[in-house]
Amino acid sequence: MKKYLKLYPYYVSRSLKARLSYRLDAIIGILGFLIENTIIFSTLYLTITTIPSLNGWNIEMMGFLYGFYLIPKAIDHIFSDQVWQLSNGGITRGILDKYLIKPINPLFQLVADMIQLEGIGELILGIIFLAIFTPTLGIIWTFSNVTALIVSAFFAMWFFFSIKLIFGSLSFWTKRSIEIMTLMYDFSNFAKYPIEIFNRAIRFVLTFLLPFSVVIYFPIRALLFGGNLWVSTLYVSIASFLMFMFSIWVWTKGLKRYESSGS
């Protein structure tokens, strides 16, 4: 453990140096995600403002939810983007070979291999949204609910990571799984909306199978509508923990099957 804590900063600084040697590229990447989410939210804004509220959620609440959604997603995006390489034909290209010959946990190496600055775009926007919409919502910030939200966001970040790792690891069996991985990752988009607008089947999926709404939507609903925020936070941590354990299990199983591409 101590070894990894010591190693990680080296990996980060190496990756940052590599990224920042093309400064304009990094800026365009960051802007890309910033602009994309701004436009998606603008579309939502133009949609929702034609009606008084969406099942009791006005546009400020939706904006706050959107902002909260972006933060764990962004942090995961920044720190573990390399997992996408697994599903994108990385297994057949043999990207794991260089990790397996070192006496360091291969999953650690995979994750630490790259810092993806693009995610900063989402992070900035998430913080901006929270800052813009908090005053109009009249949320009373206390030490307790700030802590609960931070804890929720922290676990939600692991949730995003676990989903990526599970469906990225599928590539150990299928060689390529980026389409299904994208599909599952995009399921998170459901969590940007009140779960009540969906039908039963989708609600079931979002609560029990791919509980994105549990980790994103429920805490915010509890915060805005006077529910028990700490209970939601407990659910977030349980869902994320289970998903994380499952992802590690899939990854380990897959890694045992791994054969180098041979060249």
Binding site: Y22, I28, G32, L46, P52, L54, E179, T182, F190, I202
Partner: protein, 274 residues
Amino acid sequence: MRPDKFKKYLAFTKAGILDGFAYKFSAFGWLLGDIISLLILFFLWQAVYKNSPTEAINGMTFHEMIAYLIFARVATSLAFSSISFWIIGDDIYEGNIAISLIRPINYRYRLLSSSFGVFVSTSILMFIPLWTLSMILLNIIIGIPIPGIGTHLLFILSILLSFVIVDSLNFLIGEIAIFTNALFGLMIIKNITFAFLSGSLLPSSYFPDWLSNILKFLPFQSMIEKPIMIFLERLTAREIISSFLVQIFWIVILGFLCNLSFNRLKKRVVSVGG
């Protein structure tokens, strides 16, 4: 153009068609992803209309809106199928552009021909099946009328012109690759901006006035919104003619800009390449 000259470019179109077919499975995979956004759209709009005090919002009922959004989504996959952005981006990045310049082929037309090949394969593999399916389903479930053959032809012509506009814009934006390698970031910005401004995400009746006024002077609305409105028979004959004229106007203007900027780019490439 003389026939033998035309033949040259036809070869690129053929290659483009084959390329499109080669990646058909990944195309289906991405299609699956579109189902998620369609599901979200459906439930979101259902809730929006349930919460609306009036039956029509911005002049469209729930059924009309759903038809618009589904058709727009399917049409977008065709109109935006151009790959010129990637070809020129990669050619600049890898340095192949220098080789392309010594060939007796107009680079701009070559890219348009390749993209047209992908347009054809996308039509066959995805667009025609999905469009037919949407048409039938929307007709059975919510009674959206299936338009006659004339409307179909007008729509196809309109979407073809859209495709040329999109391809020209892709070419122009792809040229930015000479300054940066961040093609992925550029693509994200380009795709979402096009989708929004073209009315692929939301019809322009939802836009604030200042934005609608600006968009009148830009090529985007003729890319998706106009073809769909033609298809849904919401435009008068006069409006249809004017929408075609606008599209042709933009094809000419953008074609001119492509040639102009590419000639300048060529000089830069030569000076870089030594």
